[in-house]
């Protein structure tokens, strides 16, 4: 798209409408963000369909990796919520796989003229929507299961009565800050990582164009870019894990009120 011209580090986050659509005054264009969300979902669906197709007793490579993922998330849910929490397993698993794939797919380099990689999770609109979905499930299930007893969440035990109004207020703000902190963490990690990658890779280009005497120095930012790419793969996994485990921990509050 840009040819040989070096793009700025923020350009990768630009949202480009691919198929402009409007609904009344609402812009509901099919954008590159939409496209990459769909690619994440498609990759997940294709992977799990082909991994579970044979349903062998002795799993093959693909089936093993799907089973490892399943076990990993199932252990996480059981560990954080208890056996009762397994009813939330489908949601947590979907969330984990979606975020993991979105993070990792965004790490693939763009191929000029063919594809322009986009990291959906580097936009707070996407991460905040996921976080609000999580917290809505917590609130709805919390009231559904515990009735008004769910409000005990805001009243920690062993607090002197005169401090209680203030503590309840602080707990309330703390609860409301949960989805925001979930969203900020994921988006900030992805944004920062991709900017660092782009800036480091940009050094290679500038050094290569700088003249024969300093050209060889370009090897160092190159090695740096390789190292940061490794780091980013780790971060991609870690952030998907953190998002999922924190969702579990918040769900635990709804399932076992007063047990913490």
């Amino acid at each position: 798209m840009k040819g040989m011209q070096a793009a700025g580090p923020m350009e990768q986050f630009e949202i480009v409408p691919l198929i402009p659509l409007t609904l009344g005054n609402l812009d509901i264009s099919f954008t590159n963000s939409t496209l990459w969300m769909m690619i994440s979902i498609a990759v997940a669906v294709v992977f799990f369909l082909s991994a579970t197709r044979s349903r062998a007793l002795i799993p093959g490579r693909l089936q093993s990796s799907a089973e490892v993922l399943y076990e990993f998330v199932a252990d996480m849910v059981r560990g954080a919520i208890g056996p009762e929490g397994m009813k939330f397993f489908p949601y947590v698993f979907t969330l984990f796989i979606y975020i993991l794939l979105a993070n990792i797919l965004g790490l693939f380099p763009s191929i000029p003229g063919v594809s322009h990689t986009f990291t959906t999770t580097s936009h707070i609109a996407v991460t905040l929507a996921l976080a609000l979905l999580s917290i809505t499930i917590v609130i709805v299930y919390g009231f559904y299961k515990n009735g008004l007893g769910f409000l005990k969440l805001f009243v920690p035990s062993g607090v002197p009565a005169w401090l209680l109004p203030l503590i309840v207020l602080i707990e309330f703000v703390s609860f409301l800050s949960r989805p925001l902190s979930l969203a900020i963490r994921l988006f900030a990690n992805m944004l920062a990582g991709h900017i660092i990658l782009k800036v480091f890779a940009g050094f290679i280009i500038s050094l290569l164009g700088a003249g024969i005497a300093v050209k060889w120095i370009a090897i160092f930012p190159f090695l740096g870019t390789v190292a940061i790419t490794l780091l980013e793969i780790l971060v991609a996994f870690l952030q998907a894990y953190v998002f999922a485990i924190l969702t579990c921990i918040y769900l635990n509050d709804a399932v076992n009120v007063g047990h913490h």
Binding site: V68, E71, F72, A74, D75, M76, R78, G79, A80, G82, L166, L169, I170, E171, V173, S174, L176, S177, R178, L180, S181, L182, I184, R185, A188, N189, I217, F220, L223, G224, A227, I228, L230, L231, L234, V235, L238, Q239, Y241, V242, I245, L246, I249, N252
Partner: protein, 115 residues
């Protein structure tokens, strides 16, 4: 003393590659993994603090708008948000279940998920 420091030679260019190499060597896999975890925890705590410090004043502002108590709601919100942020950070540091960077948690599937 400052005069003496001025006279120091600028770092020579001859060992530049070596020094750069030493600096670069920090970014090996294991090192990168450790840094990734440290960065993860840093982001975690920063976002906990930041989120509460946004929600507190935001809530105060909303109260002001509807109750017409400006600016007291916002002022109270700033302090309550800060208190909630500190509480979030303290909680994130101490609750064992919320650790995501411990050794036993990192290997996820290996840990026994009974409870």
């Amino acid at each position: 003393m400052a005069h003496h420091a001025d006279k120091q030679e600028p770092p020579s260019l001859e060992d530049f590659a070596e020094r750069l190499d030493t600096a670069q060597r920090g970014t090996t896999d294991a090192e990168a993994a450790k840094r990734g975890q440290a960065m993860g925890q840093g982001f975690r705590l920063a976002s906990e603090l930041l989120a509460a410090m946004l929600v507190g004043p935001g809530l105060g502002w909303v109260v002001d708008r509807f109750a017409g108590t400006s600016p007291w709601g916002l002022l109270a919100g700033i302090f309550i948000g800060f208190a909630a942020g500190v509480m979030n950070v303290a909680r994130a540091m101490q609750t064992p279940g919320e650790e995501f960077d411990g050794d036993n948690n990192k290997n996820g599937p290996a840990s026994d998920g009974s409870e």
